[in-house]
């Protein structure tokens, strides 16, 4: 179980690292960070709102205290779930604001993430099985091009075509103002309609990274000696493709899952912004626009922790699927 212990250890360490990074970023600028922040706010709005002052103070702790005691206070606040007060949504706490946005992002990102991974991996395996054919060339080159299209640009095009020109789907928001959010069929239908376009914007390019990764891994695993040996054994093509090619190739793709995640979160943020979708990404950009530092910091922390958790899950899955994992770790 050394492998799992090490992965959990890494998770705890990175979690601490992320929390500390979050503490350090606002304090990187020279001088009094609170002062610097307030100057920025003043430059933007021309005055400093007392509520904002309070929020910043709450976020940064006692300004004259040593960095260490600020750090201890900060950790204590996080442990007790106290992330301060949002300036934009004053007097709501940051936690409340995030609590409203989080489910939207989890549904949007979670669904597209899983679908992207599954579709990408399956497609990659299929292309790899038909490697060096015209089909392979077309799919590989085509998706390489498609993969370069920016998320937000695709989102804009989708809105232009499906919302504005064709008028089939709504162009913005997570639900219509006319529908009361709640567990009613009307709401689900409405939310589903609002969900389709943002999801499509992510799904056009989302699977490509995993697809290309899976293709390359599987082309490699199909060229390995054990696959050739499997061919010499006269195993049927299906067994070779699944148990020899794909079964081995999917392992690095799971590790790749973790690496792709950080980028996808950012892409989703942009898509949310374009669609005015009430999730964390839009909230983050709103917080940045309003210089709502407590909110911004907390969202950064939340998204990092979210990615770390997903990462840990991928690592655990990897450990279950690859019998060599434990050995590699100690070697």
């Amino acid at each position: 179980m050394t492998y799992f212990a090490r992965r959990i250890g890494f998770f705890v360490l990175t979690l601490w690292g992320a929390v500390t990074l979050n503490f350090l970023i606002p304090r990187m600028s020279a001088g009094d960070p609170a002062q610097a922040i307030l100057e920025q706010v003043a430059a933007k709005d021309g005055y400093v709102d007392p509520a904002q002052l309070e929020a910043v103070r709450a976020m940064l702790g006692v300004p004259d205290a040593s960095l260490w005691s600020q750090y201890v206070d900060y950790l204590g606040n996080i442990a007790s779930g106290n992330f301060g007060v949002s300036y934009t949504y004053f007097p709501y706490s940051v936690t409340d604001v995030i609590g409203d946005a989080l489910p939207w992002t989890i549904v949007l990102l979670g669904t597209t993430l899983v679908l992207s991974f599954v579709i990408g991996t399956l497609l990659g395996a299929w292309v790899a099985w038909r490697r060096n054919t015209g089909f392979d060339a077309v799919v590989t080159v085509g998706s390489s091009f498609l993969g370069t299209l920016p998320f937000f640009w695709l989102a804009l095009l989708l809105i232009y075509v499906f919302a504005i020109t064709l008028g089939w789907l709504p162009s913005s928001g997570g639900y219509s103002g006319a529908v009361e959010p709640g567990p009613s069929p009307e709401f689900f239908v409405d939310a589903w309609q609002h969900f389709l376009l943002p999801a499509a914007a992510i799904m056009i390019t989302g699977p490509i990274g995993w697809m290309l990764g899976m293709r390359n891994n599987m082309v490699a695993s199909l060229g390995e000696d054990f696959t050739r040996f499997g061919r010499a054994k006269g195993l049927p093509a299906r067994v070779l493709a699944v148990s020899y090619g794909a079964r081995v190739a999917i392992l690095p793709n799971i590790t790749g899952f973790a690496l792709a995640l950080g980028g996808l979160v950012g892409g989703t943020a942009l898509v949310e912004q374009v669609f005015n979708y009430p999730g964390m990404g839009r909230l983050l950009l709103e917080a940045v626009g309003n210089k709502d530092f407590p909110l911004m910091q907390t969202i950064f922390l939340f998204s990092t922790v979210g990615v770390l958790v997903a990462n840990l899950a991928a690592d655990m899955l990897y450990g279950l699927l690859d019998p060599r994992a434990r050995r590699k770790e100690t070697a």
């Binding site: 050394t2 212990a5 060096n132 060229g223 390995e224 000696d225 054990f226 050739r228 040996f229 499997g230 061919r231 010499a232 054994k233 006269g234 195993l235 049927p236 067994v239 148990s243 020899y244 079964r247 081995v248 392992l251 699927l321 690859d322 019998p323 060599r324 050995r327 100690t330």
Partner: protein
Amino acid sequence: MALVEVEHLSVDYRSRDLPPSHAVRDVSFSIAEGEFVGLLGESGCGKSTLGNALLHLLDRPAHHAGGSVRFDGQDLYALSERDVNRLRWREIATVFQSSMNALNPVLRVAKQFHDAMDAHGWREGVDGDRHARIREVLADVELDADRVMRSYPHELSGGMRQRVVLALALLLRPRFVLLDEPTTGLDVLVQRSIVELLRRIQREQGFTVLFISHDLGTVLEIADRVMVMYAGEVVESRPSAELATNPLHPYSHGLLGSFDDPRAEHVSVAYIAGRPPALTEPPPGCPFAPRCPSRLAACDDVVPTLDDAPEAAGPGPSLVRCHLFTDVGAAELGAGTVPETPRFAEVTAWSGAASSAEGREPLVVVEDLVKTYERRRGLRKERVEAVRGVSFTLVPGQVRALVGQSGSGKSTIAKILTRTERATSGTLRVDGVDPGSLRRAALREYRSRVQMVFQDPFAALNPTKTVGDSLGRPLRNYLGLTGDALWQRVLELLESVGLSPAATYVDKLPHQLSGGQRQRVVVARAMAPRPRLLVADEPISMLDVSIRAEILELLADTVREQDVTMLYITHDLLSARLLADDIMVMRSGEIVEQGPTAQVVREARHPYTRSLLDAIPRPARAGAVPAGPTATESTTPTGAPA
């Protein structure tokens, strides 16, 4: 009727950017049911490609360029993929060259047995109980079935994996098994045990075998008949015993000459200078002609055919592809002339060294040397004792061999001497200093005096640096040479290791050189700073047999001419016998036997030394193991007759 019939088989390697390379050229042979045939050749001769073609497993860029492979009358290249698949494993099984990777890393061993059984419709009632069968084949290869079946491949040692693959091959009682270098990469003693196992099972079960190998001793010892391959063609096909005692083709002569019994009183070994031709453009005449000492005028422009050998060659079915035995050659030689035995360059065991070294102060004194490695496994620390209390001295002008299996700790001693690592305890003095205590300038100075020749000539030279650049570094760093002086010295060094004319080599990149040429450059680089101690770690084990002696000769000359001390590290007692004045035999971190070479080899006292000696295949015993009709036990070592 023959079980396997190959006719005019050709395989090309084709790629977009390079001219096609004809790896297998018009090869024809047949193998009778129950026969054990060896296919012998050096790297690049096309033997593995031929093996893949027999299995209908050619992968791009290799292409089947013509000819047929008939198995029991059916042409594999005329059958559909589905029909070929039906023949696979039930009829034709194989063990690959790199069996280390032949097992799927993510499936348990048992599953890989079931795969094969499922694919070929194992009939529980007719074929017997499947679990019983798996147990039976695993027991045949002397493995603990329960443990192995539950394991993943990475949990098994190399030798065990090899046995598992062998068991897999025999699972469905195939009629034909193709073994492609089945023991390469394994330890000598493990190799030995697998070869013996293989021969025993084959005799019990009677399947047909084609055994592909570069290891002449093993092939001759294990096979009934041997085909020798050179430059994509079969050049000789003979019953093993006949080939061992009376090779016909000059190339076979050369190969056999590279073997000798290290225990004989006089040991000498031949080598074949030069290198095989590139196969992009097959030569107009005999491809071996440029390296052949018995070359006739016809050899340069008339391609010899594979024909029946003269009657005098022996009673067995013998084929040879050489003008010495063709009508063309006979016309040139004069009818009735018996061709002379080809003479290759030879290296003879050197036995007068001790005298020159006698009475000199030792250069290296090692006393009670210990090296322990600590490895962290999770929270526990694990200690591995690589070297435990080793003592010896090295005298200037002396070559001392350190012989042992992999893992015996011999390379650790090399690392400590070259100060790549430090000893855990014990005394070590090299040329008056303790390398372990050296820092910076002193360490640099030390390195100029202690140099190393590496095992793998393909890895020892930076692929992006020309030969001249590689050789120039030590000269610049240690001797402070620059400009023309540096260049002049580089050229001299190249000449001194036999790379002549030096100007043709100096701008070459490593990949443009053959293995032997690369190893010469490595030796030249090691000699550049005029070291006092040369540590050579298995310098010939990665080279083709036919050129090994050439490098041994170079090392021997270097030591004698430049009066350096050499520690020669090897697993191979024959090369130790040829090169070394003294031998130390090492096992599990300890020296178990040491003394003058001839004494240690010829009158080995320690059982471990004896087991190492026994593991050396002896071509002279060819045919002795199988109960062949032509078996002759020869007591005299074979080699190129003097």
